[in-house]
Point group: C2
Chain length 395, copies 2
């Protein structure tokens, strides 16, 4: 039950309301924002001036409009405003990118880095170097970095921001934001999140699945990552650990997993399992063979549809979301994996007879997690622009 | 992002705000409601008068208060106001109850009824008879029935209200509210929902787990029902089918299930499986033997902890909720089931090392579903009292 806003929060609330309206409908005039938000034109004008002075909003030439009356200017989120800096710490690389307020990627870089079983300090020194390069790039473009988001392959505790466990890196209890701040002198806010959750966030904001507000995003790289989107929001779980699917028990007699159990999903349907069954050394080789119509390769991909379908049908029966989006490696395998997976889900999801299940391909490729990290940083600015203007790192 | 309320919705919104404050803090004065809601005292007084005239709120003697000034009267939800009528259509019985606005059960009845594989029309005629009895009971108590909730053991589609499939009844595509209205001449709103979801709702409102806002409620009767509570709200899923757990695939070589798959959770951990392993004819016999320290009976219950722990650990890894509440048959078996289940979960849930998992016993017993159905009906009144007053079935 919403409560009337206290006096001191009114500007903050209305500032967010105005920016949200502009983000939702680029091209609105000040009068249009007033009509949509229920605020007076005078209030809207004051707030738009404030947002424009901080480069959050830009105003462009007269709006095209038929009929009489003064032509309003057209408002939109400013692509020259503060950017989000995204970082991904993966097992075999470090990625960075800059995303503007509209969600466009303006710059990105990937450095191969053998991070597996390396001490956190050594890897974070490499990451700090990549962050400094990105900050230099932002400075060269004369844009502010309004926030930093870091995607990590592990369990991040929301209350402390600690990376509690990253099995594929071998890390425990690492305070990634503090370590990066210490190494870079960063002043902007640093968020950290699970890479699969942030990839799902990128999919929600930039995947182009028009109107799809509820889905499970799954990608199969070294682990299997899942992120849950419910009602247009990333679902984090009560402590930030939501969306773990890699250790879903598919087969009680399957191969032993590093977690100690048998037959975990990632041992049966992850990239390594598919490559192993196909007898392919790496993903490009597998893709070449698939393109050439190699039967063994196609069968190896099809064989992953069964365990993946078993796990995802349980997720869909539990959550009742209408679609699965395949990202990362699974997006590249989509032409061979999509239909067998749809068939598995149709046979197992209880509601499938009268509510067909969407099996969709992510257009974002392997940069989804780093893009999601930057998007999360941008999102904190757009969700509360007044605080950003008051406290933010402005030029 | 909340929008300012349009003029026509203001009274409706404020009426709900006032009733919500009173429901949250019974004993508030009119001035206290004004302070909590931010509304003026004059507005609060008008709205309280409206709510009191409809018997939704009662006012009692002067509030005990130290210090000077007029003593306010104490406001609370009226136990003599409209009641919710709950109905449960189970495989072997029909239950009904009346719940007042405060959530207290004021009357209940259970009739054994062999409903399995009976035509829906025949069963619904029995149900209508039970509903008429409950309506007569309400009339004898001189209370209005403000809404009816019906709990059914199957998939209820939110958009249509159709019971799409109830495997244990053998029903498909039944419009339960229309059938009941036709047979009883009911004018109150009739809601229908899945029995496990409604049991979870009852647990949330009346389970007494103070402050627990996120949990999975599981009960094991003929099927295995689960209901998910997230952030203090029952999670329905996008189409109303959320919370299905019975066909979770625990073992690829387990016994064949009626759904066509092998090793579904309800075949391995449901009441029938436990009774079968214990060699007990029915639940009272099993409980007697457990009380007497019978080892075979205790081993049969412990054996259910493993498949239940496998399924629930996957649910907890996916949703990151901090507790499982065991209801129905599982609540009765709690002294023998609780610890083995906690051990399974602790070994399998990835966050368990630093966030212990709660395994709690429901105090509600087998009436949770019917109580949840009545609670849902009451909840629609409390959530929107103005519409109830305008359109409701008032004396």
């Amino acid at each position: 039950m919403p409560q009337p806003a206290g006096q001191h929060t009114v500007r903050r609330h209305n500032c967010a309301l105005v920016l949200d309206a502009i983000a939702d409908s680029p091209g609105l005039s000040r009068a249009g924002v007033a009509a949509r938000t229920g605020l007076t034109k005078a209030t809207v004008s004051t707030l738009v001036d404030r947002l424009a002075a901080a480069s959050l909003v830009r105003e462009q030439g007269p709006q095209h409009r038929a009929g009489p009356g003064r032509r309003g200017t057209s408002l939109s989120l400013s692509p020259e405003g503060p950017h989000g800096l995204g970082v991904e710490i993966a097992v075999d690389h470090v990625a960075t990118c800059l995303v503007d307020l509209t969600g466009e990627v303006r710059w990105s870089a990937v450095s191969p880095s053998a991070n597996r079983a390396q001490p956190a300090g050594r890897v974070l020194t490499r990451v700090a170097k990549a962050v400094r390069t990105a900050l230099g790039e932002a400075a060269a473009r004369d844009v502010t970095v309004g926030g930093v988001g870091v995607a990590v392959p592990g369990l991040v505790e929301a209350s402390t921001g600690l990376l509690r466990r990253a099995p594929n890196l071998g890390w425990r209890d690492v305070d990634v934001p503090a370590e990066l701040r210490r190494r870079t002198g960063l002043e902007a806010e640093v968020l950290v999140g699970n890479e699969a959750n942030l990839a799902a966030l990128a999919e929600l904001r930039a995947g182009g699945h028009d109107g799809l507000r509820d889905f499970v995003h799954v990608s199969g790289e070294i682990g299997i990552g899942a992120g849950i989107v419910l009602d247009g929001e990333l679902y984090h779980g009560t402590r930030g650990f939501g969306g773990e699917l890699g250790h879903f028990p598919v087969s009680s007699r399957g191969p032993l997993c590093s977690c100690g159990a048998r037959g975990c999903l990632e041992r049966l349907a992850g990239q390594d399992a598919i490559l192993g069954r196909a007898g392919a050394a790496d993903l490009p080789t597998l893709l070449d063979r698939l393109e050439d119509g190699d039967r063994k390769a196609a069968a190896a991909v099809r064989a992953a549809a069964r365990p993946l379908g078993t796990a995802l049908s349980s997720v869909l029966n539990l959550l009742d979301v209408p679609a699965v989006v395949l990202g990362g490696t699974y997006a590249r395998l989509f032409p061979w994996l999509g239909e067998p997976l749809r068939a598995e889900l149709t046979g197992r999801v209880l509601s499938a007879p009268w509510q067909p299940i969407g099996v969709l391909r992510s257009p974002l490729g392997t940069e989804a997690a780093v893009r999601g990290a930057a998007t999360a940083a941008v999102h904190t600015i757009v969700a509360d622009p007044d605080t950003f203007i008051a406290d933010g790192v402005l030029p």
